[in-house]
Symmetry: C2
Subunit: 333 residues, 2 copies
């Protein structure tokens, strides 16, 4: 396995990316990583670490795509950025199996499609994050979470098939449950898009379990939730917004609650941390761009070394298990 790591663009880069890559090769002995970005910075971050130097390669790229860059313009113009160099290397060199980046999501989507390109049977690539749920060790995959904001039913069917293959490949679930995000559980519910998609999914060979409402995003009731990228983005961000604001309110209630509340918080802290860790994907990985010719994972922008390591190992698993071939096969079945 040879995995490319875009070491710039994320909040904790390059340190987190470099350290995560070293953790990954120290754990997986057949893995080689190519670290892309400002050579001197990468070397400085590698210096204190202990690892097998034969399995770390550096590809110099002096420019960086930031979150303020417009995706399409950045991919076209920032030819020397770590992301574009990483994508080009992935596309051009057969030996590389996949890539991880914690940079600008839009740019990665655009660059993935323009440079690495879609699989032959794929009309649109989709962004499929892993959503942690209230059920222990149970995750829900959302396709699409924002790559395609205007969709038609045939695209949603494609997302459903790719999501199904993805869950089978990543989690070894034999018959993943696939649900359609809708504004009600009943078959007749929905807008023009979901009503038509429902009938298509119902008549597919997928293990389609019908509609779910967005309350089910974190319930852990289904394996794959299919939706257009606009609705997926809305659902994920309002879930995140609620979690963040809940913690904010709790913090302010504790600070305003005097000694009693502070003592209560100290005693309850392990339980609160266990909830926080349950809602984290740090050890699971990032969001995959489904439908491209090679595996690309978008790690969260705030990723530290452990999420980077997890995302790199996730790419390995998906590449080793030939997810791209399986997606082609699934779409042609």
């Amino acid at each position: 396995m040879k995995i490319i790591v875009d070491c710039f663009g994320g909040d904790n880069c390059p340190k987190a990316a470099v350290e995560g890559a070293v953790l990954a090769i120290n754990e997986k002995k057949d893995l080689t990583v190519a670290l892309v970005g400002k050579k001197e910075d990468i070397e400085a971050n590698l210096a204190p670490l202990s690892y097998d130097k034969d399995r770390v390669e550096i590809i110099d790229a002096q420019d960086v795509i930031t979150n303020d860059d417009s995706p399409v313009i950045a991919i076209r113009r920032k030819k020397e950025s770590s992301m574009v160099v990483a994508l080009k290397t992935l596309a051009d060199v057969d030996a590389y199996d996949g890539m991880v980046s914690s940079g600008n999501t839009g740019a990665l989507l655009t660059g993935g499609t323009l440079i690495v390109k879609r699989l032959n049977s794929v009309t649109r690539a989709c962004l499929a994050p892993i959503v942690p749920t209230a059920v222990d060790k149970k995750y829900t995959i959302v396709c699409d979470a924002g790559a395609n904001v205007d969709c038609d039913p045939s695209m949603l069917k494609e997302f459903a098939i790719m999501g199904d293959v993805y869950v089978k490949t990543l989690f070894d679930i034999e018959k993943p449950t696939v649900a359609l995000l809708n504004n009600g559980a009943e078959e007749e519910k929905g807008n023009a898009l979901t009503k038509e998609t429902y009938q298509i999914l119902k008549n597919s060979s997928l293990n389609f379990v019908g509609n779910v409402e967005s309350t089910d995003f974190v319930s852990g009731n289904v394996d794959v939730i299919v939706c257009d990228g606009f609705a997926g983005n809305v659902a994920i961000k309002s879930t995140e917004g609620m979690a963040k604001n809940f913690m904010r309110m709790l913090k302010s209630a504790i600070l305003g609650g005097g000694l009693r509340a502070k003592l209560g918080y100290l005693l309850l802290k392990p339980a609160l941390l266990s909830v926080k860790s349950k809602m984290s994907t740090d050890e699971v990985g990032g969001a995959v761009l489904l439908g491209l010719k090679k595996v690309i994972i978008k790690a969260h922008g705030s990723s530290k070394e452990l999420p980077f390591k997890a995302a790199i190992l996730q790419v390995c698993k998906l590449a080793e298990r030939n997810i791209c071939e399986k997606i082609e096969k699934g779409l042609n079945a």
Copy 2:
């Protein structure tokens, strides 16, 4: 003020509706209520209460629309249901100023439009709930939260104007901030619908502050969030889903955390309850159906007597301040 209360259809009906109505008339001395539903049940629930009997009227209706009923069919066929009788009375009798129901939302929307009817300038009525936020005493209004799942930009403009009038009328905010729900903050973001709507709102006389992402649903940053009913429904339900699952996980972490966690919980309980009460609209009211000829409020299905009282007083406030005329005026400006 004469307000109609549909006393059936909600989880705690008729008790909560009847008690809420009595609380409302005991607080507001110029208020008369008409309680609609099974006469004998309403009388039984009134019997132990102390109130001015001249200001409570009972309108008998022996049937009930449940949440399992299909909205359109229920409104057409259940002519003797408390909801249909209430809506017909509201539509036909000038003296009644508005209505509260905690029954089937879809049926109330359908019945409101078919029986009470839209204002002359309104193309589509929308459902506008009050969303509690992390900021104390600050609420955000969402239009539309589910009445119209397929929208065009002109409908979204109408929702924006109605939402603006609503916030001015209910909360005495002079220049409400109006934002568009989108998948990014930048002007160029969005799907076909939001991109076109952005330009329309930007060129309107509203205090349009641009796009918000759904993380802002509970941040308290804006007064009105405009969106199509599908996206609004998704955002609200994932917010609710996260809140519910967070509490579920916290509970299980406390139960599994031994004596230490349980003691911590007891000490922290007042702080946790203060967060819970901050996220409640029990004292504020329900979701209004904006754009109809009279004021109709949908109280939450799980409403107890205090939310019923709040919703009834909310109808009074909106009717006294002539919201329907103001909406007509706003749409014709």
